[in-house]
Amino acid sequence: MGLKVYGHRMSQPARAVYIFCKMNGIEFEEISVNFFTKKTASPVFQEINPMKQVPAIVHGTFKLFESHAILRYLACAFPGVPDHWYPADLQKRAKIDSVLDWHHLNLRHGALRLVQAVALAPKLGRQPNPQVAIEAEKLLSESLEKIETFWLQGSGPFLLGNSEPSIADLSLVCEIMQLEVLDDKDIDRILGPHKKVQQWMEDTKTATKPHFEEIHGVLFEVKAELQKQRLLGANNA
């Protein structure tokens, strides 16, 4: 049964799905849907995901969206996926679900709105919004603090003290990677105080090499482009 992944490499949840598939040797066809240019709202794509968002998958005739649901599904549907990604043990699994559920209105809500209000606003055809940026950064920093002091408690390098990564590590790290499009001094201010978070991101990258870097290539290109623009802006001022 063929697997199609509709996504975009500038979408953090789509990157998580791509990296997961590559890490686990799951073959898929990558179909890029550019949400910056609203290709996600095209009638063709709405047949795939009526919510008009990426990522979405089609596996045979089965359609699914929402990255966490996709990651859970893939972990169970493909026999070769090692247990640590989404453990069969009920209590271990429940803890990972708890992180994933927490993610939506905490880390993601902060990081996504900050990035959109500051760096990606022009790409999305919007005005930068400093008020939203302030609120979003506050939530983001609180969320990072909770990861640092609570979710990364324990002996292992990964969330929940695990010694190997789960789908929650991948999802959350891909989210934080999106901060790369911000100005470096903003990134330092936000991530600087959270040493364990930084180490955990490194560990997750290393554990998912070389796919992590490869899938994030586009993000780094956008980062460089935005940096150049900021420099030009500063010189012109």
Partner: protein
């Protein structure tokens, strides 16, 4: 050891967990926290849930929070929970996961922002914020439209065209019940255009009676109180512009 549920019946996710256990005949001890009195900030509760939110469960030595994670866990950990709540079939389950994940940043985000900023803020020591309420309403209305046209598509009466409710029906309906506390004409404006949603709320209630109403009693009481207040406020407006206070229980 009996399952412990730390909850406030004014909290939508808490209610979903309580109703779920009652409907499925799971014995539990309910430990009530009053969020309006900030009891979730106590040092005892921090031991139970360092992120200081409700609901949280303790099953033996196992602690868990986030209502969706709790509902999934209980469905699997307690024998006797009927399969339709959280099907073991991979495809059916994945679709329910999709609804649950969608819930957070859409229906919940919109409903919480709207209800807090239009109605409940004063009870929590916050200011009402019309701008934030309007933004919340926009997300809430588009989420309701998506439930109506996407999630409620199909033959059955429940989400995803199912003939029986799942944990997603319960979670989303409990979220929407929170709208009971807002002014009736606002609720009508928001829910009115979504007839299928209204019917589905009714069907979910019916499927989980009498527990649904019992667990929502506190909410209905608050609704009545707030309604009375609005009435007397309207009357007072004629004479003076006197300050009003909300009851301490949100």
């Amino acid at each position: 050891m009996t399952l412990k549920i730390y909850a406030d019946r004014m909290s939508q996710p808490s209610r979903a967990v309580l109703i779920f256990c009652k409907v499925n005949g799971i014995t539990f001890e309910e430990i009530k926290l009053d969020l309006a009195r900030r009891q979730q900030r106590s040092s005892e509760y921090k031991e139970i849930n360092p992120l200081r939110q409700v609901p949280t469960i303790v099953d033996g030595r196992f602690k868990l929070f986030e209502s969706h994670a709790i509902l999934r866990y209980i469905s699997c950990a307690f024998p006797g929970v009927a399969d339709h709540w959280y099907p073991s079939d991979l495809f059916k389950r994945a679709k329910i996961e999709s609804v649950l994940d969608w819930h957070h940043s859409n229906l919940r985000r919109g409903a919480v922002a709207y209800i807090l900023n239009s109605t409940l803020a004063p009870a929590l020591g916050l200011q009402k914020n019309p701008q934030a309420a309007a933004e919340g309403e926009k997300i809430l209305s588009s989420s309701l439209e998506q439930i109506e046209s996407i999630w409620l598509k199909g033959n059955g009466r429940f989400l995803l065209g199912s003939s029986k409710p799942s944990i997603a029906d319960l979670s989303l309906v409990c979220e929407l019940m929170q709208l009971q506390v807002v002014d009736e004409k606002d609720r009508d404006r928001i829910l009115g255009p979504h007839k299928k949603v209204e019917q589905w709320i009714e069907d979910t209630k019916q499927a989980t009676m009498p527990h649904f109403d019992e667990v929502h009693t506190v909410l209905f009481k608050l609704k009545a109180k707030l309604q009375e207040q609005r009435l007397s406020e309207a009357n007072n407006k004629i004479e003076s512009s006197k300050n009003t206070t909300l009851p301490s229980k949100m």
